[in-house]
């Protein structure tokens, strides 16, 4: 019983020659300072959804950091259980704002996943799919657009009903099938195709800003992008949409494909370089969170370090920009009235809240709409379980988290459930479909909700 049990004084990153190749990579990639900064106080435990669901230490931020450190220290091998545990984390980063020691958990988990990915032996179909998605589709606008068109074609042509009826869908994993049902109608026409690359401000321009249109956003939520531009214009901003911009790279970064994430980041730096803008506006918490961390992502790249810092400093969420700098039009729900207001509630986007640290701004906006009652949902700040592609890779945990979420949503009796990120939006739709018991609750992006409720139909931008 004694082998390991002389209690150790923990020391410098040990110069261990790990026999296991993954251990070597982890040892090299994990930021040992961050691992040491975690003082194991446990303050992050109650914030963590996976700890809450399971109640066991390895499923907590403190536990995961301890596991990473144990690997770096040569105390354990990064076995399958270790890898699974790293993938079990939602990446919601709720553990960061509550951590008084300011441990950069998000960076640690990305480093761990990056290392795991370097050594991953995906089965042929999975690795093909990953390659197709991460290399083949997301980095390429045209292909994404084409994919959008084919999804739209699939949805509209009757192929969808054919597929649903034929049982072909049953061959896909349940989680993918569920997602397929709630996908909004895709569009082959993105925001630039509809509005061009420059959109003027209503009245005297307050500032010139750029829209980060996102990749998924611009295919599945092109309408939201359009509304974002128009809402910004109503509030007094001139909006440019640089054509060359690429996917933000968040999905890549979260899945451990760091090099590709860096490539995309560099492309975006180039795309926004000469746009002459004061802000880069994001309307998707998940994208914005990576954009504000480009400085960290490219910190080792001497040519891009400084431009990345300047870029990150300019990134802002649409709600925050509207609240802090905009000339807001007045909003009203014209189907309701003051005596019979319509109830709305809000689900925080984890990355908007925990990384971009914006949780007040969207609420302030929602509270300004006339004839609307804003009811705070219990634990609105807790992850909905969508977390990128988490609901596809970890369906069980995602399902549990979502079920709890929908209980809280139901308790608000809201007619509209609003959110600020496409992933959350899809997840909430899935939730309403699965657990809503036929409730009329509608899920919407805050921007769409607001734009549709500009008093007087959206031309009354008050100068």
């Amino acid at each position: 019983m004694a082998e390991t049990n002389a209690h150790t004084h923990i020391q410098n990153k040990p110069a261990i020659d790990h026999a296991n190749p993954l251990a070597r990579t982890l040892h090299a990639k994990l930021d040992y300072d961050q691992l040491t900064n975690c003082m194991r106080c446990g303050f992050c435990l109650p914030a963590c959804p996976t700890f809450r669901e399971t109640g066991v230490e390895p499923e907590s931020p403190r536990g995961r950091i301890a596991l990473m450190k144990a690997v770096a220290d040569g105390l354990m091998d990064p076995d399958q259980a270790f890898q699974d545990q790293m993938n079990h984390c939602l990446g919601c980063r709720a553990c960061e704002p509550v951590c008084p020691a300011d441990v950069k958990y998000g960076q640690l988990i990305e480093q761990a996943r990056d290392a795991i990915e370097d050594h991953a032996e995906h089965s042929a179909p999975v690795s093909g799919l990953r390659k197709l998605i991460f290399k083949g589709v997301f980095p390429h606008r045209s292909r994404l657009r084409l994919l959008g068109k084919s999804i739209a074609f699939y949805q509209k042509s009757g192929l969808r009903s054919l597929a649903r009826g034929s049982g072909v869908m049953k061959l896909l994993p349940k989680s993918v099938r569920e997602m397929e049902r709630i996908l909004p109608d895709a569009s082959g026409q993105g925001v630039i195709e509809r509005l061009g690359t420059v959109y003027p401000a209503k009245g005297e321009p307050i500032a010139r800003v750029a829209l980060f249109r996102g990749c998924v956003m611009d295919v599945l939520f092109a309408e939201t992008n359009v509304n974002t531009v128009k809402l910004l214009s109503e509030a007094g901003f001139e909006v440019v949409i640089p054509r060359e911009q690429a996917c933000c790279g968040a999905l890549h970064a979260h899945a451990g494909e760091m090099e590709q994430a860096r490539d995309l980041a560099r492309r975006n730096l180039e795309a926004f370089k000469d746009a002459g803008i004061s802000y880069i506006v994001s309307n998707a918490g998940g994208c914005g969170a990576l954009l504000v961390e480009y400085d960290h992502l490219l910190s080792e790249d001497p040519a891009y370090r400084e431009p990345a810092r300047e870029f990150s400093d300019r990134v802002i969420d649409v709600s925050r920009l509207l609240v802090e700098r905009g000339r807001l039009p007045s909003f009203a729900d014209e189907e309701a009235n003051a005596a019979n207001p319509v109830t709305i509630t809000y689900q925080d986007s984890c990355h908007l809240r925990n990384v971009m640290r914006s949780s007040d701004a969207p609420r302030q906006l929602m509270k300004q709409v006339a004839n609307v009652t804003f009811t705070e949902m219990c634990e609105a700040d807790r992850c909905c379980g969508s977390a990128g592609i988490y609901n596809i890779t970890q369906p069980e945990m995602a399902g549990q988290v979502l079920e709890h979420k929908m209980e809280n949503a139901r308790d608000t009796q809201a007619r509209y459930l609003l959110t600020s990120n496409p992933g959350c939006l899809l997840q909430m739709k899935l939730g309403v479909e699965k657990h809503g018991n036929g409730s009329p609750m509608e899920v919407k992006h805050v921007v769409d909700f607001l734009y549709e409720r500009i008093a007087g139909g959206g031309t009354s931008g008050k100068p």
Binding site: D33, C41, G42, P46, A66
Partner: protein, 471 residues
């Protein structure tokens, strides 16, 4: 490695899912909130009931395997680091509130319940459970009892020991004992309830607790008094008590603490002050008004530079939250934060603060001090780096001298965090050889095989006392 038949037995007792001996579980239960300590257990078990705990203890004692009871592992004395291996027994599954008795004003609770969840529950019923350690959002009631935790309200309301009136506990042999009850008086024999409170998992596994509740105070008022003169602040603490005012809270923060807390909680605290006192009084409104007024006068007499009385409850809550995050906010300065809780009679607070500063200077280490000044309970906190061995050595020397200074001023080596592993070598300084012998005797009766949290409380060797150089 545990014996294979034993693991089989343990699995049978709690079910497959609730016993683990894989590397992941062992690593994740090898530490607690104490810096620089780590040691792997051989297994981790999650019991669901007193019967299971009893069966587990029978099995473990049959095989002579040690056990460490664990709540949330937030303690700061190495209390749940399994230095002799064995099994870590996590109490989280036993987290139910069994009863709130509104006639007797008691609550009966399982040990794994989170303190803050418990407090929220009783407060919703219009009752009050005063012990409020800063870690209450994560700590368990069982951990609070085993450490006899204190909090911001300790000065007026006492600490955990003043609220535990009955316990159910499992001995090393697996036998179950019950002590006390829903009784406000009970002198039937030795007070085993009080003995188990603060026993740090070395005497028995607590499986149920009956806690005393009190009516909540009708009103509260919170104020901040800021001083450019550190000695003035510390003297104010002693003066308030001397004037026979017992505030609910009387907390102290020195300048380095003010800086980091403000950086973390963004409260706009004045950064040029040497010390801040956070004072709260509660009770009926007139008394509160009168006391706050008198405290203000004392602060003024001691040359406070600024006195703010919180206007709203939110404002007050924010200040209290700031104090609660002091320890962890200090961790932002350097990678490693070592905090102790030397305690002195409250009339000696000023002397102790100055002694700490002198000692820090002597060893060239940075120590920020905050704490429950009204209780005489200070938290000198060293910010350092575990990787710098030479500096850590100086920090250790400084703390030894701080312990020595505390005892010299009539104080103790730990006021609320417990002895655990870290302070075991110093226990004898406080209680003397005869005291240690009595304690060892008690341990022997409860746990003859030394299976319950071995290595804690009693050190193999007592540290030689440093000779304080007052040159």
């Amino acid at each position: 490695m545990l014996d294979a038949t034993l693991t089989m037995k343990l699995r049978q007792i709690v079910g497959e899912k609730h016993f683990r001996d894989d590397k992941e579980a062992r690593v994740a239960h090898s530490y607690d909130g104490t810096p620089m300590l780590q040691s792997l257990p051989d297994g981790v078990i999650y019991p669901g009931s007193t019967d299971e705990v009893s069966a587990i203890m029978k099995a473990l004692s049959e095989y002579g395997v040690p056990v460490v009871s664990r709540g949330s592992g937030s303690n700061l004395c190495g209390g749940t680091v399994p230095v002799e291996g064995g099994v870590v027994m996590v109490m989280h599954r036993m987290n139910r509130l069994l009863e709130v008795d509104l006639e007797n004003l008691t609550a009966t609770v399982q040990p794994g319940m989170i303190t803050a969840a418990f407090t929220a529950h009783v407060e919703a019923l219009g009752l009050f459970y005063p012990p409020d350690p800063s870690s209450m959002k994560i700590s368990t009631i069982g951990g609070n009892i085993a450490e006899c935790s204190g909090g911001l309200r300790g000065l007026k309301y006492g600490t955990t020991k003043d609220y535990v009136i009955g316990l159910e506990a499992v001995l090393a042999s697996g036998e179950v004992i019950r002590t006390g009850g829903k009784l406000m008086k009970d002198v039937a024999g030795y007070d085993l309830t009080k003995l188990l409170v603060g026993s740090e998992g070395t005497l028995a596994v607590i499986t149920e607790a009956t806690l005393k509740l009190v009516p909540p105070p009708a009103s509260k008022k919170t104020m901040l008094a800021m001083f450019k003169d550190l000695y003035g602040a510390a003297r104010t603490v002693s003066r308030i008590i001397e004037m026979r005012i017992i505030p609910a809270t009387l907390e102290f923060m020195d300048n380095p603490t003010i800086r980091v807390v403000d950086d973390f909680a963004k409260l706009g605290l004045p950064l040029d002050m040497e010390a801040i006192l956070l004072i709260e009084q509660d009770g009926d409104p007139e008394t509160v008004e009168r006391d706050i007024e008198r405290i203000r006068e004392i602060c003024e007499a001691e040359k406070a530079d600024r006195i703010d009385v919180a206007e709203t409850r939110e404002q007050a809550e924010k200040l209290l939250t700031a104090r609660r995050s002091a320890f962890t906010a200090l961790a932002r300065l350097r990678p490693t934060t070592i905090l102790e809780d030397a305690t002195v009679p409250r009339s000696r607070i000023a002397d102790m603060v100055l002694r700490i500063n002198d000692i820090a200077q002597k060893y060239g280490v940075s120590i920020a001090t905050f704490g429950h000044a009204g209780d005489g309970n200070l938290h000198p906190t060293a910010t350092t780096d575990a990787r710098d061995k030479e500096e850590i050595h100086r920090v250790e020397q400084a703390f030894e001298e701080i312990f020595e200074a505390a005892i010299e001023l009539g104080g103790t080596i730990t006021g609320e965090h417990g002895v655990g592993l870290v302070k075991a070598p110093f226990l004898e300084w406080k209680v003397g050889p005869a005291g240690i012998a009595v304690m060892r005797g008690i341990k022997q009766v409860f746990d003859p095989q030394n299976l319950l949290n071995p290595g804690k409380m009693f050190a193999k060797e007592t540290r030689k006392r440093v000779v304080i150089d007052r040159g």
